[in-house]
C-alpha cells in the first residue's frame, strides 16, 4: 500500500505543477495580446489623458518588471483573486462561482449517462461482433462523431421545443419559481433534458464504440479462455472477468476526454442559453472582458486537473498492476 501513497503524492504534485503552468500561460496571454487593460479601459471611457494612463498603469502594477508582475499575479491567485470583470464590475471569482455549478450539473449528468449507457451498449455489441446491433453501434458512433454538437442541439430544439413543444427552448428554470422548492427542481430537470441529451449523445456514441472495441479485445485474451475452461457461464465470464479489464481503458480515456467535454458544454450552453461557464465565457469574449475570460480558462483547467486526478486514482484502484506494483 506504500506504493499507492507514493502514487497519490506524485499525482498531487503533478496536478499542482499543471495548475501553476496554466497560471503562467494566463499571465503570458495577457501580455502577448495586442493592447492591454489600459487600452480597454480607455476604450470604454472613450479616450483618456496620458496622466490618467500612467495612473492606471501604476494601479495595475503594469510599470513594474515582468517577473514581478508575474509574482504578484500568482500571489493574487493564491489568495483567490482572479481580478475584476470590466463588464460586470464584480470580482471574476464571484461570476465563476455563480456559473460553475450549472456547468458541472450539465457535464457530470451527461458524462455519467454517456459512460454507463455507452459501456453497456458496447458490451452488448461485443458479445455478437457481427450482429445487427453491433453494426448499429458502429453507425451510431460514426454519426455521433460527425455531427457538430451545436447542430444536433439545434435540431433537438427545432424538433422538441418548436415543432413538438415538449421541452422549454432556453434557460434553466422558470424565473417565477422559488429556488429550492420542489417545483423549481422539477423545472430544472425539465429544462435539463435537451441539453443533457445533446451533450450525452456524442459521448454515448464515443463510449459505446470504445467499450465495444475494448471488450472485443479483452474477450479475445488468454485469461478469458481460461475462465471458460474453468466451466464458468458466459454471463460470469463477460460481466466478471472481462468487464473489469475492459473498463481500464474506458476510465483512462474518459479522464483524458474531460477537457473536451467541457468544450462541448460551452457549445451546448450557447445553444440552450444555459446559464453556465460557457455562456459566461461567450459573453466575456464578445465584451472583450479579459480578466473574466482568463479566469474561466484558469478555472476550467483546474476542474479538468481535479477530474483527471480522480479518474487516475479510480483507475489505479481497478488495476492491481498499478496499485501494488511489480516485485521484479
Amino acid at each position: 500500500m506504500a506504493n499507492f501513497s507514493i502514487i497519490v503524492v506524485k499525482r498531487l504534485f503533478n496536478a499542482a505543477a499543471l495548475i501553476l503552468a496554466v497560471v503562467i500561460l494566463n499571465f503570458l496571454l495577457i501580455h502577448i495580446a495586442p493592447g492591454d487593460i489600459v487600452d480597454t479601459i480607455a476604450g470604454e471611457m472613450g479616450g483618456i489623458s496620458p496622466e490618467l494612463i500612467t495612473q492606471i498603469r501604476a494601479e495595475y502594477g503594469l510599470d513594474k518588471p515582468l517577473y514581478e508582475q508575474l509574482a504578484l499575479y500568482v500571489w493574487k491567485i493564491l489568495q483567490g483573486d482572479l481580478g475584476h470583470s470590466f463588464f460586470y464590475d464584480v470580482p471574476v471569482v464571484e461570476l465563476i462561482w455563480d456559473a460553475l455549478p450549472q456547468t458541472l450539473l450539465l457535464v457530470i449528468t451527461a458524462l455519467s449517462l454517456a459512460l454507463v449507457i455507452g459501456t453497456i451498449l458496447g458490451v452488448i455489441a461485443a458479445r455478437r461482433p457481427n450482429g445487427a446491433f453491433s453494426h448499429f453501434i458502429t453507425v451510431l458512433a460514426l454519426v455521433g462523431f460527425s455531427a457538430p454538437v451545436f447542430w444536433t442541439g439545434i435540431m433537438f430544439l427545432i424538433a422538441f421545443a418548436s415543432f413538438i413543444p415538449l421541452f422549454p427552448p432556453a434557460g434553466m428554470a422558470d424565473p417565477g419559481l422559488e429556488p429550492g422548492s420542489l417545483d423549481y427542481y422539477l423545472d430544472v430537470l425539465h429544462h435539463m433534458v435537451l441539453p443533457v441529451v445533446t451533450l450525452a449523445l456524442i459521448y454515448l456514441a464515443f463510449y459505446s464504440r470504445l467499450s465495444r472495441a475494448s471488450m472485443l479485445d479483452v474477450l479475445g485474451s488468454d485469461y478469458i479462455r481460461t475462465a471458460r475452461a474453468k466451466g464458468l457461464s458466459d454471463r460470469v465470464v463477460v460481466y466478471k472477468h472481462a468487464l473489469r479489464n475492459a473498463l481500464i481503458p474506458i476510465v483512462t480515456i474518459a479522464g483524458l476526454q474531460f477537457a473536451q467535454i467541457l468544450s462541448g458544454a460551452v457549445l451546448v450552453e450557447a445553444v440552450f442559453t444555459w446559464p453556465g461557464l460557457g455562456t459566461l465565457a461567450l459573453e466575456a469574449i464578445l465584451r472583450r472582458d479579459g480578466p473574466t475570460i482568463l479566469g474561466i480558462l484558469f478555472f476550467s483547467a483546474m476542474v479538468v486537473v481535479i477530474f483527471n486526478l480522480l479518474t487516475d486514482l479510480t483507475y489505479n484502484l481497478i488495476d492491481p498492476r498499478i496499485r501494488i506494483g511489480s516485485k521484479e
Binding site: D222, Y223, T226, K230, G231, L232, H241, D319
Partner: protein, 330 residues
C-alpha cells in the same frame, strides 16, 4: 486393453474463412486410457490445440464448428450434451492448462480468488473453505508460503510460478483428464524440467490422465507412454512412445525425431547431424485430395499426391497412415 476413459471418434472440425471452408481436423480417432500420459505431437498449425479445444467444446463458434464425430467421456458423448452440462464438465472432470502462463491468468483478480472460484463453482461450500483449498493446492504445486502467495496478483509472479498456479487451478477439482497444451514452451529450460516433474508427480498422486500437447519429441520421450503424431489436422501415426521413437514408420514422424538433438555423454563420439523437414504446413484451405504431407515428403510417390492414405496396423497398438507401408504389405 482396458476400456478407454475418453474416446474421440471420427472428429471433424471446420472453419469458415474468406476463401471457403477449411477443415482443420478430419477423421481423428484418439483414445485415452486410465492412468496414462498421452502425447500429441506435431508442428504449429497441425490441429493439436484445436483437438484440445474440441474436447473442452471451446472451439470458437463462429467461425469454427465441430462438424462430425463423437467425444465420449465414460460413454457420455460430450458433443451432444447441453451447454449447461458441459460447463459442469469443464474445469471439473476435464481441465486444461495453456501455453501462455504470462497471459492466461486474469490480471485483476488474486491467484487465490481465481483458484477458489473454480472450487466454489463445481463443489460449492463456503468461500472460506474454498480459499483454504486454494492455499492447499498452491502448496501442492510447490509454491512456497502459499497463504501469502494466494493473495498476490499474477503480475507479481514469474512465468514458472504462474504456470504452477494454472496447474493448481486445473487440478483443484480432481479432474479425470488434464489437457496440457504446450505447458512449458514459454518457459526457461530449467523451469520446464520442474514443471514436467511436477506434472508427472501429480499424475501419480491423483491418477488423472494427462494429455500432453507439444511440438517437441524430446518432451514426449520424457513424459508420455503413448503418442499421437498429427499433421494437417489428421493423425498420421500413433503407438507406444518407445516403439515410435525406435521404429518410426511415417516419414513425418522420422522428420520430427530428427529435429531433436541427441545428448551424448562422450564428447568424442561423433554427433548425429540434426535434420529438418523442408517447407511448412500448408494452409487448410489449400489441401488437395492426396496425402497432405506429400509436397514435403522426400519419399512421395504419384499415388501419395492423388489419394489419401488409409490406416494400417504395423505393430502392437501401432498404426500409421502412409502409402509406403501399404506398399510393403503388412
Amino acid at each position: 486393453m482396458a476400456e478407454p476413459l475418453l474416446e474421440i471418434k471420427d472428429l471433424r472440425v471446420e472453419f469458415d474463412t474468406r476463401d471457403g471452408v477449411a477443415t482443420v481436423i478430419d477423421g481423428l480417432d484418439i483414445s485415452l486410457y486410465p492412468g496414462e500420459i498421452l502425447g500429441i505431437v506435431g508442428e504449429s498449425g497441425c490441429g493439436k490445440s484445436m483437438t484440445a479445444l474440441s474436447i473442452m467444446r471451446l472451439v470458437p463458434v463462429p467461425p469454427g464448428r465441430i462438424a462430425k464425430g463423437t467425444i465420449r467421456l465414460d460413454g457420455e458423448d460430450l458433443l451432444q450434451v447441453s451447454e449447461k452440462r458441459m460447463r459442469g464438465v469443464r474445469g471439473n472432470a476435464i481441465s486444461m492448462i495453456f501455453q501462455e502462463p504470462m497471459t492466461s491468468l486474469n490480471p485483476v483478480f488474486s491467484v487465490g480468488d481465481q483458484i477458489a472460484e473454480t472450487i466454489l463453482l463445481h463443489e460449492g461450500g463456503s468461500k472460506r473453505a474454498a480459499w483454504q483449498r486454494a492455499v492447499e493446492m498452491l502448496d501442492a504445486v510447490g509454491i512456497p508460503v502459499p497463504e501469502v502467495r494466494a493473495r498476490e496478483y499474477p503480475h507479481q509472479m514469474s512465468g514458472g510460478m504462474r504456470q504452477r498456479v494454472m496447474i493448481a487451478m486445473a487440478l483443484a477439482c480432481q479432474p479425470r483428464v488434464l489437457i496440457a497444451d504446450e505447458p512449458t514452451t514459454a518457459l526457461d529450460v530449467t523451469v520446464q524440467a520442474q514443471i514436467f516433474d511436477l506434472l508427472k508427480d501429480l499424475q501419480k498422486k491423483t491418477g488423472a490422465v494427462i494429455v500432453l500437447i507439444t511440438h517437441d519429441m524430446g518432451a514426449i520421450a520424457e513424459m508420455a507412454q503413448r503418442v499421437v503424431v498429427m499433421y494437417a489436422g489428421r493423425k498420421v501415426e500413433d503407438g507406444p512412445v518407445d516403439e515410435i521413437l525406435t521404429n518410426p514408420k511415417h516419414p513425418y514422424t522420422t522428420g520430427l525425431i530428427g529435429c531433436v538433438p541427441h545428448l551424448s555423454a562422450d564428447p568424442s563420439e561423433e554427433r548425429v547431424p540434426l535434420t529438418d523437414i523442408p517447407g511448412v504446413v500448408p494452409p487448410m484451405t489449400r489441401l488437395g485430395q492426396g496425402c497432405p504431407f506429400a509436397p514435403r515428403c522426400s519419399e512421395a510417390m504419384d499415388k501419395c499426391r492423388l489419394e489419401m492414405p488409409t490406416q494400417s496396423v504395423v505393430g502392437e497398438d501401432h498404426r500409421v497412415s502412409c502409402w509406403l507401408i501399404e506398399n510393403d504389405g503388412p
